[in-house]
């Protein structure tokens, strides 16, 4: 499928179905509403075929370049058809699952995710293992036909909606660091899994604390090698910074246009407004340009790696510039106002504070750039 034709056909289809695909709720909606609408949009795209391109046939896709997936998410976000966050999970987790899980497991489990019938989670972080992910301690003990998992995860996004979770467990000695980690694909309805959602500062139940108490995971749910989980995790992280970021960049473009429209409506053509706006926009373009190179490398079959830390730092900067400008230029809307628009600006402003935290903090990204891209030798 030629990307240009794909983009044109996709755009036409989205225009034709604009009414059906628009969120049935006003503003951001509740989380339940958001998830239900995400499933609906994902399912509609699957049925129309567009949602299957860019994924291999082995998991019910229609093949073609990953650029096609980048385009789908871009158009969805530009049109504001559904919240970008649930959408990220498939892009983050599935490319690695396809590469590292047993083919029959991927073939059986990925299609419902692709159809929007399921949600998956990423169980990496623990209370005592955040940036220092390799120190994680959630234990997987060998048992007949599989593992028994016991321990705790935290900040697991969307677990209350999820059917599966990509879980990092400790299978080596407690101090085996990255050498003794194993990745497992766990059914969330397995006996022994309990969770309690945690409210974020922007007032949502985005993530949760999850307890695993002797949870049985069968052997075939191994992702990669036993004690080879670090490689799986390192494969996932660049995906977290490629297609999903392209999608998020489109959302930021839409919000930047919303800001422009707001200023124009208020008759604010001041130099102050123009300068803050131009500053935010220029970093958005820098991110988008850098991320385009990343999308093309991915599409050309190149292995993504540490260079995607640059994308992460750029989008974080762009996001913070943009919503910083929103707060500065909207004259109290973020701080004081009622109404749907104000609530959306407030939500986006607050959520921009998470950008330097999730997916590896701002400091960790700089550590990576310094060590791996600038080759500065070890840190003291």
């Amino acid at each position: 499928m030629d990307p240009e034709t794909f983009r044109r056909d996709l755009g036409a289809w989205l225009d034709d179905n604009a009414h059906e695909l628009a969120p049935p709720y006003e503003g951001a909606g509740s989380m339940d509403e958001q998830m239900a609408h995400y499933s609906y949009v994902k399912r509609s795209l699957y049925d129309a075929g567009f949602g299957r391109y860019g994924w291999p046939e082995s998991v019910d896709g229609l093949g073609g370049s990953p650029l096609l997936r980048a385009m789908v998410g871009e158009e969805i976000n530009l049109r504001g058809l559904c919240d970008p966050n649930p959408w990220t999970m498939i892009e983050v987790l599935v490319p690695t699952v396809i590469e590292f899980a047993r083919p029959e497991v991927a073939a059986a489990l990925v299609p419902p995710f692709l159809r929007g019938d399921e949600m998956w989670s990423q169980g990496f972080s623990e209370p005592d293992a955040g940036s220092d992910l390799a120190s994680l301690s959630c234990r997987a003990a060998k048992t007949d036909g599989g593992w028994l998992v016991s321990g705790q995860k935290i900040w697991t996004s969307f677990i209350q909606y999820a059917q599966r979770c990509v879980l990092l467990t400790r299978t080596g000695e407690p101090n085996s660091a990255h050498r003794g980690i194993t990745a497992l694909l766990v059914d969330v309805d397995s006996p022994g899994i309990t969770y309690s959602p945690i409210e974020t500062m922007h007032g949502r139940l985005d993530f949760a604390e999850v307890h695993y108490d002797e949870v049985f995971v069968p052997t075939e749910r191994l992702i990669g090698e036993e004690n080879g989980g670090w490689q799986v995790a390192m494969d996932i992280l660049p995906y977290e910074r490629s297609t999903t970021f392209w999608h998020r960049g489109a959302l930021l473009h839409r919000r930047c246009s919303d800001l422009v429209a707001h200023l124009v409506a208020n008759g604010d053509h001041s130099d102050t407004a123009a300068k803050a706006l131009g500053h935010a926009f220029q970093w958005l373009v820098a991110f988008r340009s850098q991320s385009r190179d990343t999308q093309h490398r991915l599409a050309n079959g190149q292995q993504l790696g540490v260079e995607t830390s640059i994308d992460k730092i750029l989008i974080t900067f762009a996001e913070q510039q943009l919503f910083g400008a929103v707060r500065d230029l909207l004259g109290g809307v973020v701080e004081f106002d009622d109404g749907i628009d104000a609530a959306m600006w407030r939500t986006d402003y607050l959520y921009s504070k998470a950008a330097p935290i999730y997916g590896g903090t701002a400091e960790i990204q700089r550590n990576i750039v310094a060590r791996r891209l600038l080759d500065l030798g070890p840190e003291s």
């Binding site: 473009h253 700089r366 060590r371």
Partner: protein, 325 residues
Amino acid sequence: MSGLVDAEDLALLATGFEAAMAEETRPAETDQALFDLGWAELLSAAPSQGAATAFRALGTTNSAAGLLDDVVANTLGIDISPQTCVVFPAPHQAKAPAHPQGDAVVVDGLVSARDEEATTAVLAVEADGSVRISTADARLFQSPVAGGVDPGRAFRRVSVEIPADALVPAPAGGSWDSAVAAARTALAHQLLGGARWMLAEARQHAIDRAQFGRPVASFQAIRHKLAESLVEIEGAASVAEACLEGPNPLLAALAKSLAGQAANTTATHAQQVLAGIGFTAEHRFHYWLKRMLVVDTLFGSASSLPAEIGHHLLSRGAAPRLIQL
């Protein structure tokens, strides 16, 4: 050649240019050497690609060669030569540097080092909202100003009034706006070449210099400064590269603004990493720093361009998606 030159040829030319620019010759001699190497042919075969290659080298070597004169004149459709210079806009601006006043034309702009030996000068004059391009005897613009921060005196201010009848209308060529965009793209590449040089200099110093019994490169505060410099450089470079895909004035403004910002950030961080030695006249860092300060102001700066870009978005009513997959 259809706008693009072979990548191998470009690499070869880049090496030749860099060597010529690195020679300690007067700017006029450097200009002549670059023309001898095929600079004019490159610019006519591949205007943006060729300029990017040469300007990256300008940034790396910190040469004061007058290539900006050629990029602007060439875009305006005027024959280029080492004896033809251009009057550039005043610092932080991109509007034509001259306007008529009675029988005179008031000029407030900048000239490059080439102006000292040039015979013909190109002048853009703005009147009634449109820009007319003329040529005149270059001696009319020879700037008495000797000062300025840059010891290489790559650019100097010129403020003069000249008689209107000293101007000869140039044949119709490219628009002033297209010359501005070409200049901005080229200068973005120069700023980034310079920023990469400063980053490399600071990186090497951080590795070589030991304090508290270990390389200062091992301290996180130092590492993060260098990392942030690289991120800004790469983000800006990616936009500067995108400018080579086709003319786009807004993208060129963004590239120049981002490159100026990246160069400023890198200069500040590199200065801090170099510390005492980097503050001396003996260390060569200050030559790059000072040239950066000057080049940043040409055709709009990192501090003036965001407002220009923002006004553009406000009049357009939306934030366009400039980069497509």
